[in-house]
């Protein structure tokens, strides 16, 4: 005997059947169909399926293109000027002190990149953030796209400047110079990004990154006893640690930014 039989009571069914189905308006249905056909369809979720390689490349390109506005012209010009200035100062100093040739650029490049990254997330940096939060693209992808754009821009600038320096001064060798600034630049950019997500204030994040970098630089070049107790983060031995810190910082920052975007969506 079916246990659910008592749930399908014939008497109740007969009683309820007295309220028959309703006739509907044929014209209203036709109008509805026409209206439905004008509604834009949202992008499909692809749960359980994978986009093919071409679609993935296209999606990545579209996301990056949509995020170009974050790397605004002002920010780009500012970073370009600072990087050029840093390269010029480095070139001048390399003539004065051949033992420390390239050091100025190693000190300047990371903080320029960190400034750029600090301004990619937050209310002031992105007034359309709430609108963005309603987009069908994952917030994690958007944040990573922005980070990739700004960091790549700084990376290209720094590489061009390094090539220029190596070509202009006999005291500067290209690969050691790149190796010297790449790890600190990656680490400081990641920390600036994390701070901008944590504090949601680009200016304070940039200033904190500057303060942190000033401490690292002071430790490296100054002879102050209390700073000598801190580890020197500009040595080749410290580079793996810097990359590890960068990785953790980006992962933590992306996680926090996704939570923040979900909070915005629930508002």
């Amino acid at each position: 005997m079916n246990d659910d039989r008592h749930l399908h009571d014939d008497q109740v069914r007969a009683f309820l059947s007295a309220w028959r189905d309703a006739p509907t308006d044929e014209h209203a249905r036709t109008r509805l169909i026409m209206a439905l056909k004008t509604i834009p369809l949202p992008a499909p979720h692809v749960q359980g399926t994978r986009l093919d390689a071409r679609a993935r490349v296209l999606q990545a390109w579209l996301i990056l293109r949509a995020q170009r506005r974050v790397v605004g012209a002002t920010l780009c010009v500012a970073m370009l000027l600072m990087m050029t200035l840093g390269a010029m100062v480095t070139l001048s100093l390399s003539q004065v002190d051949p033992n420390r040739s390239g050091l100025a650029f190693v000190l300047v490049a990371p903080i320029i990149a960190a400034f750029g990254v600090a301004f990619l997330y937050g209310d002031d940096a992105d007034p359309a953030l709430e609108l963005q939060a309603a987009s069908p693209v994952s917030p994690r992808l958007i944040v990573l796209a922005r980070l990739a754009l700004v960091f790549t821009f700084d990376l290209v600038l720094a590489l061009i400047a390094s090539i220029f320096l190596a070509a202009s001064s006999a005291n500067i060798t290209l690969l050691p110079l790149i190796a010297a600034w790449l790890a600190p630049m990656t680490c400081l950019s990641a920390l600036a990004f994390l701070m901008s997500v944590l504090l949601f204030d680009p200016l304070i994040s940039a200033l904190l990154a500057l303060a942190l970098w000033a401490a690292v630089v002071a430790r490296h070049i100054a002879e102050l006893p209390f700073l000598q107790r801190l580890p020197d983060m500009l040595t080749p031995e410290a580079r793996p640690v810097l990359y590890l810190i960068a990785l953790i910082g980006v992962a933590f920052g992306v996680m926090l930014s996704v939570r923040e975007d979900h909070r915005l969506k629930r508002r």
Binding site: L16, W19, A22, L41
Partner: protein, 182 residues
Amino acid sequence: MIADEVLARRLQTGDRTVIDEIVRRYYDALFGYLLRLTGGRRALADDLLQETWIRMMRGIAQYQYPRPFKSWLYAIATNQMRNHYASAEMRHTDTVDDAILELPFDDHAIDSDLIADEDARQVARALAALPDFQREVIVLVYYSDFSLQDAADSLAIPLGTVKSRLSNGIARLRSMMKATEL
């Protein structure tokens, strides 16, 4: 016949030609469902029906193939009805229970063809006297031909809860039927 789920999948991928067929299959049934949930208020059921279809279009990306499309579509309709009655205005003005119990026999809000006879009117009153959560289950199972499992999926509640709500709802209906006979 092409399965509902396949049509929904095609709509997800941008094929608008399936809209006619999906609407043809469910327009009348959804209207009947909403009409009974709203206590026979045709204008309100019509509004909720339009809104349900629009929500379906806008949310089609959230449909998870191959889960039952019918359950998903009715879940949208149920939510539309709940949202309507949960709005602050409705809380302070009327509820479906009050509306149906207080309606005079010649009220134009009730479709005259549907509830013109006394038997149908009694059914409307009996359904309206049930708590919302029991009325939803009874209308889904008895009028919309949902299995208990499909009703559970559509209402996003456990199967056991559907059974208990249905059982309690039926018991209340039976007692109301007896009272009417007396």
